[in-house]
C-alpha cells in the first residue's frame, strides 16, 4: 500500500460511507465521482455527479451537474468538504492524473477502491502536487485497511 504523510482526518458517518460505496459499485467497472458538502467538517449532503468520461481509468465531472451541486451548496451555506471518486482496479491512492488535475486545495480527495472484495476508502489533500493523507474515521473510529497484513 502506498503511503503518504498523515495530516488530519476526514470524518464520515455510516450512511455517507455506504452511499459512496453503493455509488461506486453502481457503475462498476467504470469510475464514479461526487461531492460531499457540509458545515464544520460534518458532511450533510452528498451529490452524485455523472462521470462525463465514463471510463475505467478516468473521471471528469459533468459540468452542468457539478454547477447545480455548487449552486445548491451556495444556496444552503454548505462548504465543499470532499471530492470523491472510485478506483475500480487500483488502490485507494491518488494516481498521477489525480495529482496533476487537483484544483481544489481546500477539499479532501476521497478515493473509494473496489480493487478487493472489501471496499477501501482513503482521503488525501493534494496541494501543489504534494499528497498528504487524512485518516478516514467512520463514526469516530479510524478505519483499518482491509487488505493490510494481520498484525
Amino acid at each position: 500500500m502506498t503511503r503518504a504523510e498523515i495530516h488530519g482526518r476526514l470524518d464520515l458517518d455510516r450512511d455517507t460511507w455506504d452511499e459512496i460505496v453503493a455509488h461506486a459499485r453502481s457503475d462498476f467497472p467504470f469510475e464514479v465521482c461526487g461531492l460531499l458538502a457540509g458545515r464544520d467538517g460534518q458532511i450533510e449532503q452528498i451529490y452524485r455527479i455523472p462521470n462525463a468520461a465514463r471510463s475505467m481509468t478516468y473521471y471528469s465531472m459533468d459540468p452542468k451537474a457539478m454547477l447545480h451541486a455548487f449552486n445548491d451548496m451556495d444556496d444552503h451555506d454548505l462548504d465543499l468538504i470532499a471530492i470523491y471518486h472510485s478506483h475500480t482496479h487500483t488502490e485507494a491512492f491518488p494516481s498521477p492524473t489525480d495529482v496533476e488535475l487537483a484544483t481544489y486545495p481546500d477539499a479532501a480527495y476521497l478515493i473509494c477502491s473496489l480493487q478487493h472484495d472489501e471496499p477501501h476508502l482513503r482521503a488525501f489533500d493534494i496541494v501543489d502536487g504534494r499528497i498528504t493523507e487524512r485518516l478516514v474515521h467512520l463514526d469516530g473510529e479510524p478505519v483499518a485497511d482491509p487488505a493490510a497484513d494481520p498484525a
Partner: protein, 91 residues
C-alpha cells in the same frame, strides 16, 4: 451591460472574498477582459497561454457550459450571469 459573475471559493483570493462580482461586456471575451482588469489574475485563470478558454476550467453563462454556446464569442445581455468552476477530473 451589467453581468454578474459567481466566483468559486477557490478563486475568491482574487476578489477579496467576494462571492459575486459585477463586470461589463457584450461578449464573454469582453467580460473576461473586464474581470481581469478589475480583479487581476482572475480573468487569466480562465484562459490558457494562447488566449483560449482554459481546458480545466468550466465557464457557464446562465447555467449553460459556454463550450456548448459560442465559447468566448458568446453574446451577453444585461442581467446575464456567468459562473466559473475549476473542472473536477482525475484518474
Amino acid at each position: 451591460m451589467s453581468i454578474e459573475v459567481r466566483v468559486p471559493t477557490v478563486l475568491r483570493t482574487h476578489t477579496d472574498g467576494e462571492k459575486r462580482v459585477t463586470v461589463e461586456g457584450a461578449t464573454l471575451a469582453e467580460a473576461i477582459d473586464d474581470l481581469e482588469a478589475r480583479y487581476p489574475g482572475l480573468g487569466d485563470r480562465l484562459r490558457d497561454d494562447e488566449g483560449n478558454l482554459a481546458r480545466f476550467v468550466n465557464v457557464y453563462v446562465n447555467d449553460e457550459d459556454v463550450r456548448f454556446l459560442g465559447g468566448q464569442q458568446t453574446e451577453l445581455a444585461d442581467g446575464d450571469q456567468i459562473a466559473i468552476l475549476p473542472a473536477v477530473a482525475g484518474g
